[in-house]
Symmetry: none
Subunit: 195 residues, 4 copies
Amino acid sequence: MSEERIQQIIEAALAFFAREGFAHARMDDIAKTTGLSKGAIYLYFESKDAIIAAILKVFFRQEMLFMLRREPSPEPIHEQVLDLTQSMVGAIEHMKPFLSIAFEFYAIAGRRKEVRQFLWEYYTDLHAFWWELIQRGIERGEVRAADPDATAMTILAMFEGLALFWLVAPQSLDVPAQAEASMRLILEGLAPHHE
Amino acid sequence: MSEERIQQIIEAALAFFAREGFAHARMDDIAKTTGLSKGAIYLYFESKDAIIAAILKVFFRQEMLFMLRREPSPEPIHEQVLDLTQSMVGAIEHMKPFLSIAFEFYAIAGRRKEVRQFLWEYYTDLHAFWWELIQRGIERGEVRAADPDATAMTILAMFEGLALFWLVAPQSLDVPAQAEASMRLILEGLAPHHE
Amino acid sequence: MSEERIQQIIEAALAFFAREGFAHARMDDIAKTTGLSKGAIYLYFESKDAIIAAILKVFFRQEMLFMLRREPSPEPIHEQVLDLTQSMVGAIEHMKPFLSIAFEFYAIAGRRKEVRQFLWEYYTDLHAFWWELIQRGIERGEVRAADPDATAMTILAMFEGLALFWLVAPQSLDVPAQAEASMRLILEGLAPHHE
Amino acid sequence: MSEERIQQIIEAALAFFAREGFAHARMDDIAKTTGLSKGAIYLYFESKDAIIAAILKVFFRQEMLFMLRREPSPEPIHEQVLDLTQSMVGAIEHMKPFLSIAFEFYAIAGRRKEVRQFLWEYYTDLHAFWWELIQRGIERGEVRAADPDATAMTILAMFEGLALFWLVAPQSLDVPAQAEASMRLILEGLAPHHE
DNA sequence: TATGAATGAGTTTTCATTCAT
DNA sequence: TATGAATGAAAACTCATTCAT
């Protein structure tokens, strides 16, 4: 019941924060969208910042749950990577309406240690996931002996950059195509016959 | 004289916006830092938003001027790319204190068309620069016949992502090393003996 | 309840606007007089101008309601006119403390079409009322065949002018006496045995 | 030279006060229109209020100078009155662009004794003028033995009211025609064969 | 739990006035 | 005399938060 209310509030807040930004969105808006009164919001969250903090947590967990749950697969790494790329693109597209929020959090991260730490954990998890995949690829001989750390980081960075470009040029950028092209380029760089 | 004041204000504003965020930074602070009165600020900028708009323009032009000015060079593309990577890293490091501002602009871009357009022009310029370099590499036979569009985009995305990670984990990430590693991976993917 | 607050605010605003003028009266004062906080005022009116607009409407309706409600009467027109004159004088005296506000609205009317239109409607109503009375007088043969339009206008003008003189010389002008004298002069000009 | 500057300033101020109202018109506007700098204004007037005060004096003297200078005339009073009516209408039409200012002064009169007194003197002069004319009419037997005080006041009031209606309904009111009709009505009421 | 009216501190913005030159 | 950049006090307005019901 209480949990339900909290979800209601977070959803309403997400909508307004995405549309107006953290500073511009008003508690009034959130309350009205929730269908609750302004006072009621404060029964569940002690402040606007508390809502923002809650959203930070919700926001940076959803996206990758599907990935972190993947079982090790016997499929060729190459195929898995391309599959995952599609999934990532799907995830980015799914949260398109909220991308602005992500960048607002990044801005805040530059100023607040807790946010920085939280986000770093998130990226660490993602990184670990790709690291493992690459590592497996190396072990299986499907990937040349590249540095899996730096490679995973490169992949993550590429996805983040893509999300940014998509935010900035929603019409001009074919995200799935670009993501695939980028990933194929990286895969090419990882191909074992190079050595 | 007037130009000088405008620079003063932009600098003070940059400092406070970086430290506090657009919403939190107060005109009072900016004025005080400038050494001017609050009223004087309004002689040069008609509103806080006008200052932010001015900063947008200053901010996303500085970084790449050095690049766009480069003459075509006979050096091997491979060397040029690694050189440029160092320059980019230098630029990112140089504007480290203001990275938060960049991300705040990205968030705003998601909500305001003019900002989106301005940023897109910026990225278009950068993209054209890399595109040309790659194209030249292909013509010279130093790079395989990859899609220069997608490749340039990949490079840009990678740099943006790196900046983000650095903001989030200033201690944990060795930016120059990571940038070089990422770029070498991409270069590997572009190596001509692949075909 | 809400209606009650609105009345409270309008009353407080009237008092301060009358005393200080629209420009000088401060929202703070109005709030304090109401017993409300400044913020509360903004729950009911979105701006100072909105309060002024509301007052315009309240102000130019009260005065004449009593007149417009009058049933056609069999009394001699002559008597009716003198009765009405007294009522008008009563109305003017009643709103004496707020006369300044009326003139501020007239000044604004010169600059803003909507105000002009609103006031013109008000005068049109008043005009219609006197027009009808005069017309009835003509029909009954108690008034000579004068132009009822111009006559009604003359009467209204005379009252407005009187209000102005009273504002300017509250001590020197005996309004009831002057109003009666003016009206008797006009009635004389309307007497039927002239023709 | 100094006098010239003062005139310049008063004219510029008149223009802006008429257009924007006393409160809205800014010293900046006035200065710019004058062609002088803001600082220079303060060499000639010690404050905005001082300019307003100067305008009050200029404003309420121009209009009637032509009248007060009139020599007693042998013409029939009836004719003289209609002539004067035309002159008054001309005067009103002439200062049409500044009528708003007049009403702003009336509003201020309600709040400030000096303004009240100044205006009262002005009206007293005008009143005296009409009083004399009527008195002469009575003496000459061209006007019945009406109260010249009340009559003069009625005439003045009528003109003020007309000016107001014209401000409020510049299109709908034919001022010359209405003024003549109103005056004829009053003249009718003053006709000697009544007694 | 829930309401929503009320608060009041905090911010932007305005502009008459000053003053160094 | 004249300038116009600078001041700073004032005022409108905002909105997260509280609290009586």
